[in-house]
Protein backbone atom coordinates (compact mmCIF):
# COMPACT_ATOMS: atom_id res chain seq x y z
CA UNK A 1 0.00 0.00 0.00
CA UNK A 2 1.43 3.35 -1.04
CA UNK A 3 1.71 5.82 1.85
CA UNK A 4 2.85 9.43 1.92
CA UNK A 5 4.66 11.37 4.58
CA UNK A 6 2.63 13.83 6.59
CA UNK A 7 2.53 15.59 9.93
CA UNK A 8 -0.01 14.83 12.61
CA UNK A 9 -0.70 17.95 14.69
CA UNK A 10 -2.66 17.54 17.90
CA UNK A 11 -3.99 20.55 19.76
CA UNK A 12 -5.62 20.27 23.19
CA UNK A 13 -7.54 23.49 23.66
CA UNK A 14 -10.36 24.93 25.74
CA UNK A 15 -13.76 24.15 24.24
CA UNK A 16 -14.91 27.80 24.05
CA UNK A 17 -12.04 28.40 21.62
CA UNK A 18 -12.80 25.46 19.36
CA UNK A 19 -14.52 27.47 16.64
CA UNK A 20 -11.77 30.07 16.62
CA UNK A 21 -9.15 27.37 16.25
CA UNK A 22 -10.89 25.55 13.43
CA UNK A 23 -11.54 28.84 11.66
CA UNK A 24 -7.82 29.57 11.91
CA UNK A 25 -6.96 26.11 10.59
CA UNK A 26 -9.28 26.57 7.66
CA UNK A 27 -7.85 30.02 6.97
CA UNK A 28 -4.37 28.47 7.01
CA UNK A 29 -5.43 26.15 4.18
CA UNK A 30 -5.95 22.95 6.12
CA UNK A 31 -8.18 20.54 4.20
CA UNK A 32 -9.57 18.71 7.19
CA UNK A 33 -9.43 18.11 10.92
CA UNK A 34 -11.03 15.89 13.52
CA UNK A 35 -12.27 16.97 16.95
CA UNK A 36 -12.10 14.46 19.80
CA UNK A 37 -13.75 14.89 23.20
CA UNK A 38 -11.59 15.12 26.30
CA UNK A 39 -12.76 13.77 29.66
CA UNK A 40 -10.38 15.65 31.86
CA UNK A 41 -6.79 16.42 32.45
CA UNK A 42 -4.20 18.24 34.42
CA UNK A 43 -1.67 20.93 33.70
CA UNK A 44 -0.21 24.11 35.07
CA UNK A 45 -3.70 25.50 35.53
CA UNK A 46 -4.72 22.57 37.71
CA UNK A 47 -6.86 19.53 37.30
CA UNK A 48 -10.31 19.44 35.73
CA UNK A 49 -12.94 16.97 34.63
CA UNK A 50 -15.84 17.12 32.26
CA UNK A 51 -18.22 15.37 34.66
CA UNK A 52 -21.38 17.22 35.45
CA UNK A 53 -20.36 20.38 33.62
CA UNK A 54 -23.11 22.34 31.99
CA UNK A 55 -21.59 25.15 29.95
CA UNK A 56 -19.12 24.94 27.11
CA UNK A 57 -16.58 23.95 29.73
CA UNK A 58 -13.64 21.64 29.38
CA UNK A 59 -11.29 20.99 26.52
CA UNK A 60 -11.26 19.28 23.17
CA UNK A 61 -8.49 17.69 21.17
CA UNK A 62 -8.19 18.75 17.54
CA UNK A 63 -6.19 16.46 15.28
CA UNK A 64 -5.00 17.65 11.91
CA UNK A 65 -3.10 15.68 9.29
CA UNK A 66 -1.19 17.85 6.83
CA UNK A 67 1.48 17.80 4.19
CA UNK A 68 4.87 18.46 5.87
CA UNK A 69 5.46 21.64 3.89
CA UNK A 70 2.36 23.20 5.38
CA UNK A 71 3.51 22.67 8.96
CA UNK A 72 5.20 26.00 9.58
CA UNK A 73 2.34 28.11 8.38
CA UNK A 74 -0.05 25.99 10.33
CA UNK A 75 1.85 26.24 13.60
CA UNK A 76 1.92 30.03 13.26
CA UNK A 77 -1.83 30.06 12.76
CA UNK A 78 -2.39 27.77 15.72
CA UNK A 79 -0.09 29.73 17.95
CA UNK A 80 -1.96 32.94 17.23
CA UNK A 81 -5.05 31.31 18.72
CA UNK A 82 -3.58 29.43 21.64
CA UNK A 83 -0.84 31.75 22.79
CA UNK A 84 -2.68 33.32 25.69
CA UNK A 85 -4.66 30.22 26.49
CA UNK A 86 -4.04 27.03 28.36
CA UNK A 87 -3.54 23.92 26.26
CA UNK A 88 -0.80 22.04 24.45
CA UNK A 89 0.27 21.52 20.83
CA UNK A 90 2.24 18.50 19.63
CA UNK A 91 3.45 17.34 16.23
CA UNK A 92 4.29 13.81 15.15
CA UNK A 93 5.69 12.39 11.93
CA UNK A 94 3.14 10.24 10.20
CA UNK A 95 2.29 8.51 6.95
CA UNK A 96 -1.11 8.74 5.32
CA UNK A 97 -3.04 6.80 2.72
CA UNK A 98 -4.61 8.75 -0.14
CA UNK A 99 -2.27 11.76 -0.17
CA UNK A 100 -4.52 13.60 -2.60
CA UNK A 101 -6.79 14.36 0.33
CA UNK A 102 -4.32 16.54 2.25
Amino acid sequence: MQTHIAKRVEIVIEAPLERRLTDALTAAGVTGYTVLPVLGGSGRSGQWSRDGQVGRAGMVSVVCLIKPERLDGLLDAIFAVVKKHIGVVSVTDAHVLRAERF
Binding site: P16, R20, Q47, D51
Partner: protein
Protein backbone atom coordinates in the same frame (compact mmCIF):
# COMPACT_ATOMS: atom_id res chain seq x y z
CA UNK B 1 -35.81 38.60 62.72
CA UNK B 2 -36.98 35.34 64.22
CA UNK B 3 -39.38 35.18 61.34
CA UNK B 4 -36.54 35.53 58.86
CA UNK B 5 -34.69 32.76 60.63
CA UNK B 6 -37.68 30.45 60.67
CA UNK B 7 -38.23 31.20 57.00
CA UNK B 8 -34.60 30.41 56.31
CA UNK B 9 -34.90 27.29 58.42
CA UNK B 10 -37.91 26.05 56.47
CA UNK B 11 -36.07 26.79 53.26
CA UNK B 12 -33.00 24.92 54.43
CA UNK B 13 -34.75 21.61 54.90
CA UNK B 14 -36.32 21.47 51.47
CA UNK B 15 -35.23 18.57 49.23
CA UNK B 16 -33.73 21.11 46.84
CA UNK B 17 -31.28 22.60 49.31
CA UNK B 18 -30.48 19.25 50.87
CA UNK B 19 -29.68 17.84 47.44
CA UNK B 20 -27.19 20.63 46.93
CA UNK B 21 -25.71 19.93 50.36
CA UNK B 22 -25.44 16.24 49.51
CA UNK B 23 -23.49 17.03 46.36
CA UNK B 24 -21.24 19.43 48.24
CA UNK B 25 -20.49 16.93 50.99
CA UNK B 26 -19.95 14.07 48.56
CA UNK B 27 -17.41 16.13 46.63
CA UNK B 28 -15.63 17.36 49.76
CA UNK B 29 -15.41 13.77 51.01
CA UNK B 30 -13.96 12.83 47.62
CA UNK B 31 -16.70 10.40 46.68
CA UNK B 32 -16.60 9.35 43.03
CA UNK B 33 -20.27 10.28 42.62
CA UNK B 34 -20.64 12.15 39.33
CA UNK B 35 -23.43 13.05 36.97
CA UNK B 36 -22.57 12.59 33.30
CA UNK B 37 -22.01 15.81 31.40
CA UNK B 38 -24.76 14.94 28.90
CA UNK B 39 -27.28 14.38 31.69
CA UNK B 40 -26.35 17.65 33.39
CA UNK B 41 -26.73 19.50 30.09
CA UNK B 42 -30.02 17.74 29.44
CA UNK B 43 -31.35 18.85 32.82
CA UNK B 44 -30.26 22.42 32.23
CA UNK B 45 -32.02 22.42 28.85
CA UNK B 46 -35.13 21.09 30.56
CA UNK B 47 -35.01 23.75 33.28
CA UNK B 48 -34.45 26.61 30.84
CA UNK B 49 -37.23 25.42 28.56
CA UNK B 50 -39.67 25.00 31.45
CA UNK B 51 -38.95 28.26 33.18
CA UNK B 52 -39.05 30.20 29.91
CA UNK B 53 -42.27 28.54 28.81
CA UNK B 54 -44.01 29.11 32.12
CA UNK B 55 -42.97 32.77 32.10
CA UNK B 56 -44.46 33.15 28.64
CA UNK B 57 -47.69 31.47 29.68
CA UNK B 58 -47.96 33.82 32.66
CA UNK B 59 -47.53 36.82 30.39
CA UNK B 60 -50.17 35.49 27.99
CA UNK B 61 -52.55 35.03 30.93
CA UNK B 62 -52.04 38.34 32.68
CA UNK B 63 -51.41 40.47 29.65
CA UNK B 64 -48.40 42.66 29.15
CA UNK B 65 -47.91 44.72 32.23
CA UNK B 66 -47.10 48.39 31.76
CA UNK B 67 -43.94 47.80 33.74
CA UNK B 68 -42.62 45.18 31.32
CA UNK B 69 -40.54 47.61 29.31
CA UNK B 70 -39.33 49.37 32.44
CA UNK B 71 -38.24 46.05 33.95
CA UNK B 72 -36.35 45.07 30.82
CA UNK B 73 -34.56 48.40 30.70
CA UNK B 74 -33.80 48.21 34.41
CA UNK B 75 -32.32 44.73 33.95
CA UNK B 76 -30.19 45.90 31.05
CA UNK B 77 -28.87 48.91 32.92
CA UNK B 78 -28.23 46.93 36.11
CA UNK B 79 -26.27 44.30 34.24
CA UNK B 80 -24.08 47.04 32.77
CA UNK B 81 -23.68 48.93 36.03
CA UNK B 82 -23.35 46.24 38.71
CA UNK B 83 -19.92 45.13 37.43
CA UNK B 84 -18.59 48.63 38.05
CA UNK B 85 -19.74 48.42 41.64
CA UNK B 86 -18.33 44.90 41.98
CA UNK B 87 -15.01 46.01 40.51
CA UNK B 88 -14.80 48.89 42.96
CA UNK B 89 -15.60 46.67 45.92
CA UNK B 90 -13.06 44.06 44.79
CA UNK B 91 -10.28 46.60 44.43
CA UNK B 92 -11.01 47.81 47.95
CA UNK B 93 -11.66 44.49 49.67
CA UNK B 94 -9.16 42.19 47.92
CA UNK B 95 -5.74 42.18 46.37
CA UNK B 96 -6.97 40.79 43.07
CA UNK B 97 -5.35 42.12 39.90
CA UNK B 98 -7.42 44.38 37.68
CA UNK B 99 -7.95 41.54 35.23
CA UNK B 100 -9.09 39.06 37.86
CA UNK B 101 -11.29 41.70 39.46
CA UNK B 102 -12.89 42.54 36.13
CA UNK B 103 -13.56 38.86 35.41
CA UNK B 104 -15.19 38.42 38.79
CA UNK B 105 -17.20 41.61 38.26
CA UNK B 106 -18.61 40.23 35.00
CA UNK B 107 -19.98 37.24 36.89
CA UNK B 108 -21.77 39.37 39.47
CA UNK B 109 -23.34 41.68 36.89
CA UNK B 110 -24.74 38.66 35.10
CA UNK B 111 -27.22 36.25 36.68
CA UNK B 112 -27.62 32.65 37.82
CA UNK B 113 -30.71 31.14 36.31
CA UNK B 114 -30.76 28.28 38.83
CA UNK B 115 -30.85 30.73 41.72
CA UNK B 116 -33.72 32.43 39.91
CA UNK B 117 -35.51 29.09 39.53
CA UNK B 118 -34.97 28.24 43.19
CA UNK B 119 -36.42 31.61 44.18
CA UNK B 120 -39.46 30.99 41.98
CA UNK B 121 -39.90 27.68 43.76
CA UNK B 122 -39.82 29.37 47.15
CA UNK B 123 -42.32 32.00 45.99
CA UNK B 124 -44.64 29.32 44.62
CA UNK B 125 -44.38 27.45 47.90
CA UNK B 126 -45.54 30.61 49.69
CA UNK B 127 -48.27 31.29 47.08
CA UNK B 128 -46.67 34.58 46.10
CA UNK B 129 -47.20 35.34 42.44
CA UNK B 130 -44.73 37.22 40.29
CA UNK B 131 -44.55 38.78 36.85
CA UNK B 132 -44.03 36.10 34.19
CA UNK B 133 -41.78 38.37 32.17
CA UNK B 134 -39.12 38.29 34.88
CA UNK B 135 -37.57 35.41 32.92
CA UNK B 136 -37.18 37.82 30.01
CA UNK B 137 -35.47 40.23 32.39
CA UNK B 138 -33.19 37.36 33.42
CA UNK B 139 -32.31 36.72 29.78
CA UNK B 140 -31.58 40.40 29.21
CA UNK B 141 -29.20 40.46 32.17
CA UNK B 142 -27.03 37.54 31.06
CA UNK B 143 -24.62 39.22 28.69
CA UNK B 144 -24.17 43.00 29.19
CA UNK B 145 -21.99 42.58 32.26
CA UNK B 146 -19.35 40.94 30.11
CA UNK B 147 -18.99 44.07 28.02
CA UNK B 148 -18.64 46.20 31.14
CA UNK B 149 -15.89 43.92 32.37
CA UNK B 150 -13.99 44.16 29.10
CA UNK B 151 -14.33 47.92 29.20
CA UNK B 152 -12.93 47.92 32.75
CA UNK B 153 -9.90 45.97 31.61
CA UNK B 154 -9.33 48.21 28.61
CA UNK B 155 -9.61 51.31 30.79
CA UNK B 156 -7.25 49.98 33.44
CA UNK B 157 -4.73 49.39 30.66
CA UNK B 158 -3.67 46.19 32.34
CA UNK B 159 -3.99 43.81 29.43
CA UNK B 160 -5.82 43.59 26.17
CA UNK B 161 -9.26 42.12 26.35
CA UNK B 162 -9.90 39.90 23.37
CA UNK B 163 -12.95 41.42 21.77
CA UNK B 164 -13.15 39.79 18.38
CA UNK B 165 -16.23 40.38 16.24
CA UNK B 166 -17.54 36.88 16.87
CA UNK B 167 -17.77 37.42 20.60
CA UNK B 168 -20.76 39.76 20.67
CA UNK B 169 -22.75 37.46 18.43
CA UNK B 170 -21.78 34.52 20.61
CA UNK B 171 -22.93 36.37 23.71
CA UNK B 172 -26.27 37.38 22.26
CA UNK B 173 -26.96 34.03 20.61
CA UNK B 174 -25.68 32.04 23.53
CA UNK B 175 -27.57 28.75 23.76
CA UNK B 176 -29.12 29.41 27.16
CA UNK B 177 -30.37 32.88 26.21
CA UNK B 178 -31.86 31.59 22.97
CA UNK B 179 -33.57 28.71 24.72
CA UNK B 180 -34.93 30.83 27.55
CA UNK B 181 -36.24 33.56 25.26
CA UNK B 182 -37.47 31.10 22.66
CA UNK B 183 -39.40 29.07 25.22
CA UNK B 184 -40.77 32.32 26.64
CA UNK B 185 -42.22 33.21 23.25
CA UNK B 186 -43.59 29.72 22.70
CA UNK B 187 -45.31 29.97 26.07
CA UNK B 188 -46.61 33.45 25.31
CA UNK B 189 -47.98 32.35 21.92
CA UNK B 190 -49.55 29.04 22.96
CA UNK B 191 -50.73 30.28 26.35
CA UNK B 192 -52.82 28.24 28.76
CA UNK B 193 -53.77 25.83 26.00
CA UNK B 194 -50.15 25.03 25.22
CA UNK B 195 -49.42 24.79 28.92
CA UNK B 196 -52.21 22.26 29.42
CA UNK B 197 -50.69 20.12 26.66
CA UNK B 198 -47.24 19.87 28.16
CA UNK B 199 -47.62 20.71 31.84
CA UNK B 200 -47.18 17.08 32.83
CA UNK B 201 -43.68 17.46 31.44
CA UNK B 202 -42.64 20.99 32.31
CA UNK B 203 -44.49 21.50 35.58
CA UNK B 204 -45.03 18.23 37.47
CA UNK B 205 -41.48 16.85 37.55
CA UNK B 206 -39.84 20.29 37.71
CA UNK B 207 -38.86 20.33 41.37
CA UNK B 208 -37.51 16.80 41.24
CA UNK B 209 -35.30 17.60 38.28
CA UNK B 210 -34.16 20.70 40.12
CA UNK B 211 -33.06 18.47 43.02
CA UNK B 212 -30.84 16.36 40.79
CA UNK B 213 -29.52 19.45 39.05
CA UNK B 214 -28.60 21.00 42.38
CA UNK B 215 -26.97 17.74 43.42
CA UNK B 216 -24.75 18.22 40.38
CA UNK B 217 -24.12 21.89 41.21
CA UNK B 218 -23.13 20.79 44.70
CA UNK B 219 -20.70 18.25 43.28
CA UNK B 220 -19.11 20.83 41.01
CA UNK B 221 -18.98 23.49 43.71
CA UNK B 222 -17.46 21.02 46.17
CA UNK B 223 -14.78 19.86 43.73
CA UNK B 224 -14.02 23.48 42.91
CA UNK B 225 -13.69 24.43 46.57
CA UNK B 226 -11.42 21.48 47.27
CA UNK B 227 -9.12 22.35 44.40
CA UNK B 228 -8.94 26.05 45.02
CA UNK B 229 -8.29 25.84 48.72
CA UNK B 230 -5.89 28.61 49.58
CA UNK B 231 -6.48 30.55 46.37
CA UNK B 232 -8.86 32.99 48.04
CA UNK B 233 -8.30 35.31 50.97
CA UNK B 234 -10.92 36.37 53.48
CA UNK B 235 -11.43 39.61 51.56
CA UNK B 236 -12.57 37.76 48.47
CA UNK B 237 -14.92 35.54 50.44
CA UNK B 238 -16.28 38.61 52.21
CA UNK B 239 -16.93 40.18 48.81
CA UNK B 240 -18.85 37.09 47.68
CA UNK B 241 -21.27 37.61 50.59
CA UNK B 242 -21.35 41.39 50.67
CA UNK B 243 -21.84 41.89 46.95
CA UNK B 244 -25.13 39.92 46.71
CA UNK B 245 -26.47 41.78 49.75
CA UNK B 246 -25.66 45.17 48.28
CA UNK B 247 -26.93 44.17 44.83
CA UNK B 248 -30.14 42.83 46.29
CA UNK B 249 -30.77 46.18 47.98
CA UNK B 250 -30.27 47.95 44.67
CA UNK B 251 -32.61 45.46 43.04
CA UNK B 252 -35.13 46.11 45.78
CA UNK B 253 -35.04 49.86 45.20
CA UNK B 254 -35.31 49.58 41.43
CA UNK B 255 -37.97 46.89 41.60
CA UNK B 256 -40.13 48.92 43.97
CA UNK B 257 -39.54 52.08 41.93
CA UNK B 258 -40.81 50.58 38.67
CA UNK B 259 -43.78 49.08 40.48
CA UNK B 260 -43.15 45.35 40.44
CA UNK B 261 -45.29 43.12 42.64
CA UNK B 262 -43.81 41.61 45.81
CA UNK B 263 -42.82 38.46 43.89
CA UNK B 264 -41.36 40.53 41.08
CA UNK B 265 -39.32 42.60 43.51
CA UNK B 266 -37.91 39.47 45.13
CA UNK B 267 -36.96 38.04 41.74
CA UNK B 268 -35.31 41.31 40.74
CA UNK B 269 -33.32 41.18 43.98
CA UNK B 270 -32.32 37.61 43.26
CA UNK B 271 -31.23 38.45 39.71
CA UNK B 272 -29.07 41.28 41.01
CA UNK B 273 -27.68 39.20 43.86
CA UNK B 274 -26.87 36.07 41.87
CA UNK B 275 -23.70 35.49 39.92
CA UNK B 276 -23.26 33.59 36.66
CA UNK B 277 -21.26 30.36 36.53
CA UNK B 278 -22.14 28.99 33.13
CA UNK B 279 -22.30 31.62 30.38
CA UNK B 280 -19.83 34.12 31.78
CA UNK B 281 -17.00 31.69 32.60
CA UNK B 282 -17.00 30.43 29.01
CA UNK B 283 -16.94 34.00 27.71
CA UNK B 284 -14.09 34.87 30.07
CA UNK B 285 -11.98 32.00 28.75
CA UNK B 286 -12.28 33.56 25.31
CA UNK B 287 -12.09 37.24 26.16
CA UNK B 288 -9.92 37.38 29.29
CA UNK B 289 -7.81 34.21 29.22
CA UNK B 290 -5.31 35.67 31.69
CA UNK B 291 -7.94 35.84 34.41
CA UNK B 292 -7.76 32.91 36.81
CA UNK B 293 -10.84 30.65 36.56
CA UNK B 294 -10.25 29.27 40.04
CA UNK B 295 -10.95 32.74 41.46
CA UNK B 296 -14.17 33.55 39.67
CA UNK B 297 -15.63 30.06 39.73
CA UNK B 298 -14.96 29.60 43.42
CA UNK B 299 -16.48 32.92 44.37
CA UNK B 300 -19.52 32.58 42.16
CA UNK B 301 -20.31 28.88 42.47
CA UNK B 302 -18.58 28.04 45.72
CA UNK B 303 -19.62 30.97 47.89
CA UNK B 304 -22.31 33.22 46.43
CA UNK B 305 -24.45 30.46 44.94
CA UNK B 306 -24.86 28.47 48.19
CA UNK B 307 -25.23 31.70 50.15
CA UNK B 308 -28.12 32.85 47.96
CA UNK B 309 -29.68 29.42 47.87
CA UNK B 310 -29.75 28.96 51.64
CA UNK B 311 -29.83 32.32 53.38
CA UNK B 312 -30.11 34.87 50.61
CA UNK B 313 -33.47 34.00 49.09
CA UNK B 314 -35.44 33.88 52.37
CA UNK B 315 -33.67 37.02 53.52
CA UNK B 316 -34.51 38.94 50.34
CA UNK B 317 -38.11 37.77 50.63
CA UNK B 318 -38.36 38.89 54.25
CA UNK B 319 -36.84 42.28 53.49
CA UNK B 320 -39.08 42.78 50.47
CA UNK B 321 -42.11 41.88 52.56
CA UNK B 322 -41.06 44.31 55.27
CA UNK B 323 -40.40 47.11 52.80
CA UNK B 324 -43.43 46.68 50.56
CA UNK B 325 -45.58 45.96 53.60
CA UNK B 326 -47.08 42.93 51.84
Amino acid sequence: MTEILSLAGANLISPIILSFALGLLAALARSDLTIPEAVAKGMSIYLLFSIGFKGGVAVSAHGIDQTLVLALIAGLVLSFVLPLLAFGLLRVMTGLSAIDAAAVAAHYGSISIVTFVAATSVLNGRMISSEGYMVAVAAVMEAPAILSALWLVARSGSGEARMDPGLIRELLLNGSIVLLVGAFFIGAITGEKGFAEISAFIEAPFKGVLCLFLLDMGLIAGRGLRQSRGVLGMGAVGFAIAMPLVSAMIGLGIGALIGLSLGGVVLMMVLCASASYIAVPAAMRVALPEANPAVYLTLSLGVTFPFNLTLGIPLYLAIAQAVTGA
